[in-house]
């Protein structure tokens, strides 16, 4: 079977051939095939694709191999939370879930419209499942007081794939935290959220992996009328790590806070990519991404607001990306993009990129704070701004993780 499948991808690399082989071992499923074809159209995304010019999975991921480094320890607390654990071969869930949360382990693949836009998400959808792992894990949230759901992605292996789908019913709210701790050569997950009228989602993503790993987290959310979504990402990168989020405001009055911080050290690459479609009138987006990069590290920010004709009227959207290059040899690439077809809108974006502000440094030092301490203080405050809207249960932990990294 794999010989015929080989032709799915033009001039495949060793890693792509292994992915094709993994697909070949999955049960036949028309939806799975569509998802895989969406991935196969390009294969592992690479620099010649506009959306991937700074984050090249094809070049970074030569073969599927178990990396040398073990998973990082999960800093996010799990007390009071319902914990779900994905490893390259296994899946664990609480035996019992409280009222207001229903979980369905679907053996088949759920339809995935728009898979072509997110090749790594399509790959996750096509290869999720097998063994104990669900092809699609679905949740329905009907309570406004459901406990936090905590997803952990860890464990050694060649590759780990997951697809999780959430339906948050009208008036209900979901607090979700995800820890991507590395351990697999390739981790790809896709999470989809459907928020009905007035539903709320607070999502936090913590990512820390090894310098030999590739990771792609794809989130896709549809916001109903007056729905509210707040997302906070703290990413430390990997050999390549892409945290991609696509949000559609699909009924009026929905609100989105989309925040992220990335911290890239030597040999690490962190990519924050977002795409927000204002497909309904009077929706609000506030987006803040902060980054700090050391010698040999790479930070990528790509943000896009799309405001279609007529339906996007009265859009209020603001996108800010600010990056600090803390040392020589750091690099940051940014593309904050606006595509606007409606006239009665307020859209703005800003992008700054550079070293710490000299005037601020001098002010602190004039007050007697030594240079290294002043630097740490300013950088922490800089990063902290992007983490302030994370759920209370994890906010301080995120800050502490950022501080530890900055002071080491």
């Amino acid at each position: 079977m794999t010989t015929a499948l080989r032709d799915f991808i033009k001039n495949p690399t060793a890693a792509e051939l292994e992915l094709v082989a993994r697909y070949g071992m999955q049960p036949e499923d028309a939806r799975r095939e569509r998802a895989f074809l969406a991935f196969a159209e390009t294969g592992l995304p690479h620099r010649r694709m506009e959306g991937w010019k700074w984050t090249d999975f094809k070049a970074a991921l030569k073969a599927l191999e178990t990396p040398a480094a073990a998973s990082a320890k999960d800093p996010l607390p799990d007390d009071g939370a319902l914990v779900f654990r994905f490893t390259p071969k296994g899946f664990e869930a609480p035996a019992k879930l409280p009222d207001g949360i229903r979980m369905v382990v679907q053996p088949g693949v759920q339809a995935f419209p728009g898979a072509e836009d997110v090749p790594m998400g399509a790959l996750a959808a096509a290869l999720a499942g097998g063994g104990k792992r669900p092809a699609t894990l679905a949740f329905e949230i009907t309570s406004s007081e459901a406990p936090r759901l905590h997803f952990v992605f860890e464990g050694a292996g060649e590759a780990s794939f997951a697809r999780i789908v959430f339906l948050v019913r009208s008036g209900a709210s979901l607090t979700l935290t995800e820890s991507y701790l590395g351990g697999a050569g390739l981790t790809a997950s896709v999470l989809e959220f459907d928020l009905e009228r007035g539903a709320k989602l607070n999502r936090t993503i913590f990512q820390r992996g090894g310098a030999g790993e590739a990771l792609a987290v794809t989130g896709i959310a549809h916001l109903g009328a007056e729905a509210e979504m707040t997302q906070t990402t703290l990413a430390f990168g990997a050999k390549v790590a892409r945290m991609e989020t696509r949000v559609v405001h699909q009924a009026s009055g929905s609100k989105l806070n989309l925040n992220a911080a990335y911290l890239s050290g030597k040999g690490f690459h962190a990519d924050i990519t977002t795409n927000v479609r204002h497909g309904a009138p009077s929706c609000v987006t506030r987006q803040l991404t902060k980054g700090a990069v050391l010698d040999g590290g790479t930070g990528v920010f790509q943000g896009k607001f799309f405001v279609p004709r007529k339906t996007g009227q009265h859009t209020d959207a603001d996108m800010q990306h600010q990056a600090l290059l803390l040392e020589d040899g750091a690099q940051v690439f940014a593309k904050p993009e606006l595509e606007i077809y409606a006239d009665d809108v307020e859209c703005a974006h800003g992008n700054t990129c550079g070293a710490l502000d000299d005037a601020q440094m001098f002010y602190l030092r004039q007050r007697g704070i030594p240079e290294t301490q002043a630097r740490a203080m300013l950088t922490e405050a800089f990063i902290a701004e992007a983490l302030g809207m994370a759920d209370e249960a994890v906010r301080d932990v995120l800050l502490a993780e950022a501080q530890n990294w900055l002071s080491s």
Binding site: R309, Q331, I340, D344, H349, G350, T352
Partner: protein, 520 residues
């Protein structure tokens, strides 16, 4: 100099200041951009024309080269570019859509039959002179002088009297260059590039294709193969060019592509300000314009390049109009050099244009000031690239996009900072204004920073024309279209102030004309 030399309509006013006004008025008329019956630059001139065989082949290129009596090295250069072009693909990444261009359906060379070389301006065929006169382009030296004096007095700024030397390109060939002698005295070389190839072959050979290489991109490579004429400017060491230099381009012949090539070299500590203006007649077909402009600034030199582009934009339904695919690039080759691009883009059906600066010299400075107006079915994808290579290089980008009608207006820019460009600085501001609900405004900045000591800052906003402001102005008795013009002028002020004065006045009127019918 006899001040009444060229004009007919305004002789009485010579002592006064009216001639410039008349030029403005004519230029403005010439730019009645959108309703086709109002585009008064849309007339065609009937003169006998020599064409190269239609279509593009090695023979076409040999024909062009022979017609211009070019040296062997240049023919070789063209053929090499052509060979390369055959292997290239037309770019598709810009946010513009247009029917597939049949490169064999164009004439690549069209010259007025009388030939391109005229001993004096009086030998230029009357029809061509009339064309320029209709366009309000000051071909006659006297006319120019008068006009500009008028402008100076109107502005009463007490600034040094600017004068403008003009090179006029009609279809494929340069027909007249004014002020040649006076410029020669200052050591400034200002002539058509075809002449320069013969008169200053070493200079041309030394710099041609060094900023925009032959195989740079699809359109630039096409230009390298078939470029017909254009302007060559050389400012020697330490010379401040005594007047503004200007080229007017006019596409006249049907089914003609225009492929001019401009090369401006400012030697050490030299300064020049150069203006470029463009028009084309109304035609149903799309005419192709693929120009290349190369600027070289050596140590301490400064080049200021200003463009007002109002090529025929096509009619309301998007029929006809110019496809404007232009490669403009400046090389700040020497330390402390400076290149400044200012553009007012109101014409063309499709614009694909990114005037850029390579900031190679330490402490060199690049600037890009742009106003792009689209209306009707126009599509513009324009912006700049600032490539920071030298230490302490600075760049500044101010872009104002105004979209009306059913048009799309995209800013696309790159700021790239090399690891060695310590303490580089960039500031970018991109503002978009939407007038009406059927247009689009897009901002696509790329930022690549590889240097920790660089500081880059980018701001962008997209807003609609404020109803409150519009009402306020109208309540005070200002007619709606004037109120729009007033507000738009306020919106673009940061850029207008970077245009040479006589261009700024023209640009303001152009904006107003371009936006006619966009509200109400």
């Amino acid at each position: 100099m006899d001040c009444c030399g060229g004009t007919t309509e305004h002789e009485d006013d010579c002592g006064e200041v009216k001639v410039k006004d008349s030029i403005d008025a004519k230029t403005v008329e010439a730019a009645k951009a959108l309703e086709s019956e109002n585009y008064s630059a849309g007339f065609a001139t009937t003169i006998e024309t020599d064409f190269a065989p239609k279509g593009l082949s090695e023979d076409t290129i040999r024909y062009i080269s022979a017609a211009k009596n070019e040296p062997e090295w240049l023919l070789e250069w063209r053929l090499k570019a052509y060979e390369r072009w055959l292997t290239m693909e037309e770019p598709t990444w810009a946010m513009v859509r247009y029917p597939k261009i049949d490169y064999q359906a164009y004439y690549y060379y069209a010259a007025p039959k009388a030939g391109a070389k005229y001993a004096s301006i009086d030998d230029v065929p009357k029809e061509i002179l009339e064309t320029y006169e209709k366009l309000g382009i000051p071909l006659r030296e006297a006319e120019v002088l008068l006009g500009v004096e008028g402008a100076v007095e109107t502005a009463a700024e007490g600034r040094e009297k600017p004068r403008v030397a003009v090179d006029a390109v009609f279809d494929s060939v340069s027909v007249a260059t004014t002020f040649r002698k006076e410029l020669q005295k200052a050591g400034v070389i200002f002539m058509s590039i075809s002449e320069a190839v013969h008169e200053y072959p070493d200079l041309v050979k030394k710099y041609l294709g060094t900023v925009v290489p032959q195989s740079d991109n699809f359109f630039a490579t096409l230009n390298s193969a078939v470029f017909s004429d254009g302007t060559f400017v050389y400012i020697p060491k330490g010379v401040r060019c005594p007047m503004e230099l200007s080229t007017y381009f006019r596409m006249n012949a049907e089914n003609t592509g225009q492929f001019e090539r401009t090369l401006i070299v400012a030697d050490e500590a030299a300064y020049v300000s150069y203006l470029e203006g463009c028009t084309a007649p109304m035609r149903d077909e799309n005419q192709l314009h693929a120009a290349v402009v190369e600027l070289v600034a050596l140590e301490d030199a400064e080049i200021k390049y200003s463009t007002v582009q109002n090529w025929w934009p096509g009619d309301e339904d998007g029929k006809g109009g110019i496809f404007n695919f232009v490669t403009k690039r400046g090389d700040c080759r020497g330390d402390r050099s400076k290149i400044s691009w200012t553009q007012v883009e109101t014409g063309s059906a499709v614009t694909w244009k990114y005037p850029s600066c390579i900031l190679r010299g330490d402490d060199s400075v690049g600037e890009f000031y742009s106003i792009a107006v689209t209306n009707g079915r126009q599509q513009a994808d324009t912006g700049t690239k600032m490539i920071h290579l030298g230490k302490r290089t600075k760049s500044r980008i101010i872009s104002k996009g105004i979209s009306a009608g059913k048009s799309d207006n995209t800013y696309r820019g790159l700021v790239s900072v090399n690891r060695k460009a310590v303490n580089a600085r960039n500031f970018t501001q991109c503002d978009s204004l939407l007038i009406g609900e059927k247009c689009g405004a897009h901002t696509i900045p790329y930022v690549e920073n590889r240097c920790a000591s660089a500081q880059l800052e980018h701001e962008a906003t997209t807003t609609k024309l404020s109803e409150d402001q519009l009402f306020y102005a109208r309540q005070r008795g200002i007619a709606e279209e004037d109120a729009v013009a007033l507000l738009v002028n306020g919106f673009v002020r940061d850029v207008l102030q970077h245009l040479p004065m006589e261009f700024a006045v023209e640009a303001q009127s152009l904006l107003k004309v371009s936006l006619e019918g966009s509200v109400g």
